[in-house]
Subunit: 452 residues, 2 copies
């Protein structure tokens, strides 16, 4: 049986963009239906609950300036707390093994540290010319978009150790490898997020704070207020529009409205069957906007014992598959949680193997950095984002060379009755939860203008 | 009503890959059903028939070494004939206007000619190291795939006029712009097609010969012999597989078999809803394999009057939207036909406007090169490939930087009961009709091995 319904605005996706759009429209008396493919809200934010503790297997952080997600968290009454700050960080290199360090960037030799900082500053300087509303209008856009980040690193960083440091930084921020990323896209993304230095920073940076109870709590509380306007387990297969209306259909439903807001990332939005078909430029965009690849793994221990050894739980390593780690314990400190990222090429490779094998590879890394005590966690919990059918990667879309100048204009341009949201469409904090919220707010303005 | 059917092998797509696979399997007594989205066979090959003449609005050429499509044409009894060879070619440049020339590459100044030839030779030399079965195993693959063709041109061609010549050559061969194309992909594609010099050549090159009556005639005759095994107007929306069987379903049908061969190009294959979902590496591949962008326009005149002026009908120009032209008249010479390509960025832009506006822009170019007589054709016929729902571009997929090393391994690797064909999967003449035929033959070997 097909469930038929009529509304004013159909919203595809109940991540932070979709929920924000639905909330803001509802507040203004506009009737909405939110169609979510998964059996939960939150999208790339997902808090898994266990007996006595919770784990954010998806997006979790906020930082200074991310005022839109912070305001939403405040409104929902969810408290934030700082990422665990104390102790020394670890650097692991193939050549030198383990060393302790302090600060944002590992400093095992002062020359490499200087070169990495210089490269980050040069990169952030270069990004200043990107107009966030239209990166394709950057002076020299074709040259910047016709070059990968790898080419830029090779041309601008003159020691192999500093190049390795920059590669690790880019992998951590973009969940992709330098050869995958357009230089123009990397510049846009960095400027959109207050600069590469901010994005790799914890204190005063993009990894500053977390929400108690998990980031998804915010989405769940916001969605609760929308009541039965949110339809879970309802993947949209096709969207049909004509002069009078627009209909989004799935296996067992069809919802008709005046406007449809699609919040899925471009790659997934491109898989919906549109009638009439998407215009060529939009179609080209969605066929060249792959998602980053990241697997986020947690090992749970009865206590955060590494703190007693003077360690912060943070690691930067040039040996994978886990190259970046954090202490991801709850604010009360127990249970203790070590969290690590498998990113870029490793993310793609490890996404496709058995969980048991991946768990072993991850814990081998944990032991390499923290010793044998890390080998036997009481629990292991992961978010394997490349394998998630309704995200196919995280953190966000990573545009390869050529995408922005060839078809970037199609990113936000409405197609008839279809408007686009989602963190990829945000000018500010694109790729971050804050960008998703902002994109929901922006699309509401577009929709209200059309509804008149 | 859903039409249900059972077969041994389901083939998705009735282009040259699908038809070849179906023919070869049928010959061996294997039962097949070919599911084609369009109401015609041929895929990116499409001959439009008018009262008294025919026009190839899609793929049309064969060249020396393209023995597999040539053998198929022979078997179907379709005669080939050479691309019109006589007369002088035209070069148009913004600086110097129109000049006549002979040979493959315009030679208005000998230094530029020398530099372009040198660059083509250096490129073809570099391509020799690419193992066609596994481009990601090329020595230095990560560096070559982490670089765009634009970066290579900028670093290896030292005059602006020669760089412009190389850009035009790449646009003509790849239907994409140098900033869109991975250097490794360009090298693979060129080597797969006997080298860049062969690919830009007419006589003794990839544009040497045509089929009388149009290239699609070959596909139609081959499909006729398959009888009602070919289902037209049957787009596959989903493919479901388990340990015992595989089912491809559309709006009003469901076909169950042992094996499914998907011949759609990666970008379109990625839009099918798979259950279970595609593995991460395959999914990443299909989200970063955009199609080239080309619109092929024909103006039809009562006679090929340019021949009387000593002109071959061929043009190379640095001013768009039409930068490359050919005399595309039938072998008998009447009616006369001038054909031009709108490619790359122009292809994307012009694909999205009204046909009347595009026709005007195209004929303005024809007049610029051939004078006022070109302004009033008796007919205008075009193939707007970026707008074609079931191709979304031509000639083939153009991998951006990073695709081959990040996920190229997933291009041909079967996923359970699904095997992949289509010209993009061919080691030889990838992107060409000959490659499509070869891919159909290759996949038949895979299928027969599984069927046992």
């Amino acid at each position: 049986m097909t469930r038929q319904e009529t509304t004013q605005v159909i919203i595809v996706g109940a991540g932070f963009a979709g929920i924000t759009a639905a909330r803001e429209l509802s507040k203004r008396g506009v009737d909405v239906v939110v169609l979510e493919a998964r059996d939960r809200v939150g999208g790339r934010v997902w808090t898994q609950k266990r007996d006595g503790y919770w784990v954010d297997v998806g997006g979790q952080w906020t930082g200074p300036g991310q005022d839109h997600i912070r305001a939403l968290g405040d409104e929902m009454g969810v408290k934030s707390f700082p990422t665990w700050p104390d102790g020394e960080h670890l650097q692991y290199t193939e050549g030198a093994g383990l060393r302790r360090y302090a600060g944002v960037v590992p400093s095992d030799d002062v020359e490499t540290l200087g070169k990495v900082m210089q490269a980050i500053m040069a990169f952030d300087q270069l990004s200043q010319d990107v107009p966030l509303h239209a990166p394709w209008e950057t002076p020299n856009a074709q040259s910047l978009d016709g070059m990968t980040v790898q080419t830029w690193i090779d041309e601008n960083v003159d020691s192999e150790r500093a190049r390795e440091g920059m590669r690790t930084a880019f992998e951590a921020v973009y969940a992709a490898e330098p050869h995958d990323i357009s230089l123009l896209h990397a510049l846009f993304y960095a400027k959109s997020g207050k600069g590469l230095f901010y994005l790799v920073s914890t204190e005063e940076g993009a990894q500053a704070d977390r929400f108690d109870g998990g980031m998804q709590t915010v989405a769940e509380l916001a969605a609760e207020r929308l009541g039965d306007a949110v339809w879970l387990a309802s993947p949209v297969r096709s969207i049909e529009q004509d002069n009078g209306s627009i209909t989004a259909s799935g296996d067992e439903f069809a919802v008709t409205g005046k406007i449809c807001v699609v919040t899925a990332p471009p790659a997934l939005a491109g898989r919906i069957d549109y009638d009439p078909p998407m215009p060529p430029l939009r179609d080209q965009l969605t066929s060249r906007a792959p998602m980053g690849s990241v697997i986020k793994v947690h090992a749970i221990y009865d206590t955060p014992w590494w703190r007693d050894e003077g360690l912060s739980g943070r690691v930067v390593s040039d040996v994978g598959p886990i190259k970046v780690m954090f202490d991801n314990s709850p604010p009360e400190g127990t249970p203790g949680m070590l969290m690590g990222f498998i990113e870029g090429g490793d993310g793609r490779r490890y996404a496709n193997i058995d969980e048991a094998e991946r768990r072993k590879a991850a814990l081998d890394c944990f032991v390499r950095y923290f010793g044998d005590r890390a080998a036997k966690p009481m629990d292991y919990i992961e978010g394997n984002w490349p394998a998630e059918q309704w995200s196919r990667g995280c953190y966000g879309a990573v545009f390869p060379a050529g995408t922005w100048v060839s078809c970037g204009q199609a990113l936000r341009e409405p197609v008839g009755r279809i408007h686009w949201a989602g963190t990829e469409t945000s000018e500010v904090f694109a790729g971050y939860i804050d960008g998703a919220v902002r994109s929901g707010e922006r699309v509401v303005n577009e929709v209200l203008e059309v509804l008149g």
